[in-house]
């Protein structure tokens, strides 16, 4: 049975070859930085969390089970998410105004915002501008595809609180997108 590149890399990672780990880093660090940056705003903290994540991978690579293409990426992404959440719990952002953001009530639009013509970079900036509580729940729900029950467990909050935070986060983001589109449209006129 022929192993694919991912499996070969995993085998080398298991031997703790420095070159293999560098390869892993080279291949995935950009994507993992994105994942981490969704949760963590401060650059230094992102650095630290990613460093911890790689250390964690290094220590627990033995427990990794290959389940087909992409499973390595899924595994390391999960580690980064876990480390990010750990960091958030240890360093609650006191500056975050957890209170009332002006959430537009008229969420009656049938469809969500259209994401075309908006760059990934811009969306990323919007996500990162969400208040921490909303952002974390939003990330877990949308990108990690966790259920509210899982999110409630992870974050130690009530399930309905997770749902309401998601709702607000979602609304806030949709509003940002809408504003962005309007300002862009205004530029063309």
């Amino acid at each position: 049975m022929k192993e694919n590149n991912e499996q070969i890399l995993v085998n080398r990672l298991l031997k703790k070859e420095e070159a293999a780990w560098k390869e892993l880093f080279g291949a995935y660090s950009g994507s993992l930085t994105y994942v981490c940056s969704r949760y963590i705003i401060d650059k230094e903290d992102v650095h630290d969390v990613l460093q911890n994540s790689f250390v964690q991978m290094f220590r627990s690579i033995e427990s990794f089970e290959y389940r087909g293409s992409g499973s390595l990426r899924a595994w390391i992404t999960k580690i980064v998410v876990n480390e990010s959440l750990k960091h958030i719990k240890q360093n609650p952002d006191l500056k975050t105004v957890s209170g009332d953001f002006e959430i537009p009530d008229e969420q009656n639009e049938e469809e969500g915002p259209n994401l075309e013509e908006i760059s990934q970079h811009t969306i990323m900036k919007m996500i990162r501008s969400l208040p921490e509580g909303y952002r974390t729940v939003f990330n877990l729900y949308v990108f990690e595809q966790k259920s509210h029950k899982e999110i409630a467990e992870i974050m130690g909050i009530a399930e309905n609180s997770s749902a309401s935070q998601l709702h607000r986060g979602k609304a806030l983001l949709a509003q940002k997108i809408k504003e962005y589109k309007m300002s862009k449209a205004a530029q063309y006129e």
Binding site: E18, Y34, S37, L50, V55, E110, I123, M124, V142, A174
Partner: protein, 465 residues
């Protein structure tokens, strides 16, 4: 509003990447694959590793400064190691010391050959007793001087080593001997040997003090050197700190006969020359002529405080340097119960520590770490106050400046616990051990008596981003 757009969002962002933080791989590889080197550095066992670190790129001015500090620390360390080796082979040094002692005594004798022979006789007995002690002391101090001086020199400039040794030793001897001896001369002519002993005793004391200081400094420097090496790899954060601490090493000693704190304690000579009969030292000596006399030296706990800068090289490694001040004080009481000389010696040191920290564990706001390093301290000023008490009455008080300004090198190791109070400020407690190398001076300090001591430091660190 349905949630379908969220799926679109996820799909859209699927392949997004962000710029990887600078130096991340370096930090990771350091942590995962660089620990062996680091451990060696920490353990002082691998000077080569340190050197390599020093050779690393000097990207910024800070790096350069760190490198210089590391290099200095390495030199010192190397010198100390050499010294240690030398100490293991006592044959050479003892010879030197004896030579020096002899030469010193010779000089003294010549000086002393002036008047005052009469009175000398009375005191001779005491002095003779002292002579043995003093000779021993002088030997020790000589050895110390050699070691200390030789090491720094070797580190800095090998060529100058020889020059340094001789001038330094001679200078010290000359100064101490000259002052003390001259003063003592009158008394000493008959008692040449005795005076020599006294002087030597004082020299020893000074040496002790110097050594301890040097040791501390060495330790800190060493730590700093390690830190700088590490820092070169990846600069992240600077910390400023304020430290205070005390070594638990106060001690007291007692031995028979007279003694002096620095060679100059028995500053009788001047008085003698003027009026022998009035001289309190003479009075004391005469009063105690047939009494049992002893000398008690009590070293007070050193007091240290300072400010430090801490620079974290990676999540786990950091180096620190700074400046600190230490006061050593000692009390000497010599004589009998009613007729005695009491001296108080205060020496002030300014030191530069070089420390390397390794964070072992981080749990919430707490960080547990081990630290090691070296401290180089220089005596900046010192004085000895001496009181002569005759028959229970203080007859005379004198104050002398200590001219000898030795460099004290020490190495230290400690475990520390730091609590992050707010974002950039942490408080820490650091129990540790330090070893103070002999400073080759004649100063008698607690560090000479107890080169190895345990201490507890408290401080505040400010992390500079």
């Amino acid at each position: 509003m349905n949630n379908e757009w969220l799926n679109d969002l996820r799909n859209k962002m699927e392949d997004h990447t962000e710029d990887v933080p600078d130096g991340l791989w370096n930090d990771i590889s350091n942590e995962l694959f660089g620990e062996d080197n680091a451990k060696n550095v920490v353990g002082f066992s691998d000077l080569k590793a340190q050197e390599n670190a020093v050779k690393m790129n000097y990207k910024t001015l800070l790096y350069r400064i760190g490198g210089v500090a590391a290099a200095i620390a390495m030199f010192f360390i190397g010198g100390k190691l050499l010294d240690f080796n030398g100490k293991k082979e006592p044959s050479e040094q003892p010879k030197y010391s004896s030579h020096q002692a002899k030469t010193g005594s010779g000089k003294k004798v010549s000086h002393q050959e002036s008047p005052v022979e009469k009175e000398k006789e009375a005191v001779e007995n005491y002095f003779n007793e002292r002579n043995d002690l003093s000779i021993i002391n002088s030997n020790i101090s000589h050895v110390f001087n050699k070691n200390i001086f030789v090491n720094p020199l070797n580190k800095t400039k090998n060529s100058e080593t020889n020059l340094w040794r001789n001038p330094v030793l001679e200078g010290e001897k000359a100064n101490q001997e000259g002052n003390l001896f001259n003063q003592n001369q009158n008394l000493a002519q008959g008692q040449n040997g005795n005076t020599i002993e006294e002087k030597e005793g004082t020299e020893e004391i000074e040496n002790y003090e110097l050594l301890t200081k040097e040791e501390r400094e060495w330790k800190e420097k060493f730590k700093e050197a390690e830190k700088t090496k590490l820092a070169k790899n990846q600069p992240k954060k600077w910390m400023l700190g304020v430290v205070t601490g005390n070594a638990s090493s106060n001690s007291s000693e007692q031995y028979p006969g007279y003694a002096t704190l620095n060679g100059t304690t028995l500053s009788l000579p001047e008085i003698w020359g003027m009026n022998y009969g009035e001289d309190p030292l003479m009075a004391i000596l005469i009063a105690n002529q047939d009494k049992k006399v002893d000398a008690k030296i009590k070293h007070k706990t050193p007091i240290t405080f300072g400010a430090s800068v801490y620079y974290s090289l990676s999540r786990r490694w950091g180096i620190g340097t700074g400046i600190n001040y230490t006061r050593l004080s000692a009390e000497l009481t010599t004589g009998s119960n009613s007729d005695f000389i009491s001296s108080e010696q205060n020496i002030h040191y300014v030191g530069i520590p070089v420390q390397v920290n390794y964070n072992v564990i981080e749990k919430g706001a707490f960080t547990g770490y081990v630290t090691g390093g070296t401290v180089i301290e220089k005596a900046v000023s010192g004085d000895i106050k001496t009181k002569y008490t005759v028959d229970g009455v203080i007859k005379e008080e004198t104050k002398e400046e200590i001219s000898e300004k030795p460099v004290q090198v020490s190495v230290n190791g400690a475990v520390g616990l730091q609590l992050k109070v707010i974002k950039n400020i942490g408080i820490y407690a650091e129990p540790g051990v330090s070893y103070h190398f002999n400073d080759n001076s004649s100063l008698n300090t607690v560090y000479k008596e107890k080169p190895l001591n345990f201490n507890l430091k408290f401080g505040i660190r400010v992390l500079l981003d």
